[in-house]
């Protein structure tokens, strides 16, 4: 969480992107110079199914305000079936987060192909705005982890 001079809340967004589709899609939005906010920080993973729900909880614990997980479109996974596992696991994680009272809009799964640079940028813009509206993540952030 950061607050800049004009006091607009700057959410911290962690994006997990699969190497084959979404990371390439993010690169494409860069190549096409499509803007999205600096709030989004991307972590490269081989496949969306590599993302352990623990990573997402860890990000929230450490002060992330939103986490987005991007993978190949269903049926297009480089590893054949990885994103199907992602879809099921995240459905479970999201229902657990609902149960904990974490706003549903703080987490998202999105399918972005390597050709969808524009979709990647649009998704990141929209997601950042959605998280900005929600305000800081106070419920899951562990204050002991906050940098002094």
């Amino acid at each position: 969480m950061q607050v800049n001079e004009n006091k607009e809340f700057q959410p911290l967004i962690v994006a997990f992107c699969c190497n084959w589709c979404s990371y390439a899609g993010a690169d494409l939005s860069g190549t096409n110079r499509l803007n999205y906010p600096t709030n989004v920080k991307i972590i490269r993973v081989p496949c969306s199914c590599r993302v352990n729900p623990m990573f997402i909880l860890r990000a929230f614990q450490r002060g992330a305000d939103g986490v987005i997980l991007c993978g190949c479109h269903p049926g297009d996974c480089h590893y054949t079936s990885g994103n199907y596992f992602t879809r099921r696991r995240m459905t479970l994680l999201f229902s657990m987060l609902d149960f904990l009272g974490i706003e549903r809009d703080r987490t998202r799964v999105e399918w972005v192909s390597a050709a969808e640079g524009a979709k990647f940028a649009a998704t990141m813009n929209e997601f950042t705005e959605a998280v900005r509206k929600l305000g800081p993540n106070r419920r899951l952030e562990d204050l002991r982890c906050r940098k002094q």
């Binding site: 860069g30 623990m54 860890r58 002060g63």
Partner: protein, 663 residues
Amino acid sequence: MQRIGVFVCHCGTNIAATVDVKAVAEALGHEPGVVISQDYQYMCSESGQNLVKDAIKEHDLGGVVICSCSPRMHENTFRKAAASAGLNPYLVEIANIREQCSWIHKDIATATEKAIILGKAAIAKVHLNTPLTSMESPVVKRALVIGGGIAGIQTALDIAEAGFDVDIVEKQPTIGGKMAQIDKTFPTLDCAACILTPKMVEASQNEHITIHSFSEVEDVKGFVGNFTVKIRKKARYVDETKCTGCGLCTEKCPMKKVPNEFNMGLDNRSAVYIPFAQAVPKVATIDPNYCMMLKNGKCGVCSKVCSVGAIDYKQQDRIIEEKYGAIVVATGFNPIKLDKYDEFAYNQCPDVVTSLELERLMNAAGPNGGTLLRPSDKTHPHTIVFVQCVGSRCDDSKGKPYCSKICCMYTAKHAMLIREKYPDTEVYVFYIDVRTPGKNFDEFYRRAVEQYNVHYIKGMVGKVTPKSDGKIGVQASDLLSNEQLHIDADMVVLAVAIEPDKTARPLATMLTTQMDTNDFFTEAHPKLRPVESATAGIFLSGACQGPKDIPETVAQGSAAAAKAIGLLCKNSITCNPCTAHSNELMCNGCSSCEKVCPYGAITYIDKEFRMPDRTTAIRRVASVNPAVCQGCGACTVACPSGAMDLSGFSNSQIMAEVDAICK
């Protein structure tokens, strides 16, 4: 703590224009473990790489972070540079500050701040990187071609030409595929059998080619260079090694009322049959659904007349297992079923035929010996209506959304051949668009219109109704003159959409290759890797990848062969070392990881452990075959005890990145 070197690239002004590169280098220099932090104009250039190499040697670095463009661009460049300086290449990490920072942000202050955070995340990760070594895995110098149509035959011939052994697996009793059924080929009008059958014979006589006809792929295991394939050789109730193909059994067989698949069911064959005269291998096959001996145990005529004793009613399916280095998929296409198209009365009227049926009707070896006669009353048709795009370019769920590509040309061919042979016949073609991109294709189509006076009408046929006088009423609209047309036709020919063979989808699952929504195999790159699948070692040939005419199919068949030969020429291939591994002390053998592994890379072994009380215990633990593992990481998340981890993207590495970003 590793000794880490950080190298920040300006990329000319690509990065430096929006990111304060010197500030990034300065800030990252204060990170724990960083012993040198430098910036340079072009890190990927020769001198930039030398800067990295010299620093590795001079500062005895144990890890390198390059803040530059996307790792998809230059990760390999820097890994090679590190390796040449004596550092394990997998101790290099890239922070992507170009595509994912400088190019998308405009504000220098925030972009610099983000670049520093990305750099910190990479430093946090590289602290936990471990040296990895690539395994070498040997290549079996033998290829498998699945499908024995023209695509498969061409591929097999080209691979055999290079001196490698090739097996063709064909599910029909003979190779040849759809091309064997075609009468003439566009745009040159040469006879399909005359150019195909010599190739079939060449394939059967080539010492490097083994043809498994009447066989199907049952199971595929393994990985590039080392596939193990189970092939089911279906029982044909005839000993292939003894049968001479004399055809006496087919003459004497009393059961003669079996629809002949080769002639599209337009005539009948016997229960023991050879699909067509030039079949390869020329061996008889008994159809167990019709053979009276196999059904009721009464007959046995064929075994009595066979002079070499090739008939074997007790034959069973056999499963053979072979090893291959490369697999080429050439499963081809089929015309779609017309059950959903009642408006064309295909199922009610025998004189409404598909284009492939017309090929057989016009073929000299077909049911009418080459004379074009109506299937219903064997009279000569005087008015023939062709309907284009039946099931192609459909936006509803009935048909296919794509263009089947070959129909415009073969319809022009049919129309031309009919007008040539029977000038008294009126030929109408209803089309949406005529698509003739190809060498000499448009000239061919124009010849049909101008020289042969075929009536091309833009518009779709709305309804086809069989009439009591034997004529077929065709109701259509002419879109250019905006008129409704009623034609009394003698025959209607439907240019039916083509779809991938039904066996393609289960095969794709076995091969772990990708398919599009229409069940066509997906190529690794639509432009630059058109004959490779995304799965290493699997290549695509012919219409299994998309609708294609014969020249294109042959071109792709040869291209796939070239790619397969490139692979087979290697003695060994380097595997990706970023694979999963299981911590045997933590693994409890629950099988969760095995269930999610798409490659079957995980097996279980019984391992002996020394217990604290000095006894030994044997436990079942997971073991990953690094040559099969592709490194997706599905198992790492499925593992309930956290025993499974992925080299290069370990749990602790990703956690460290998350922490660094969130700090």
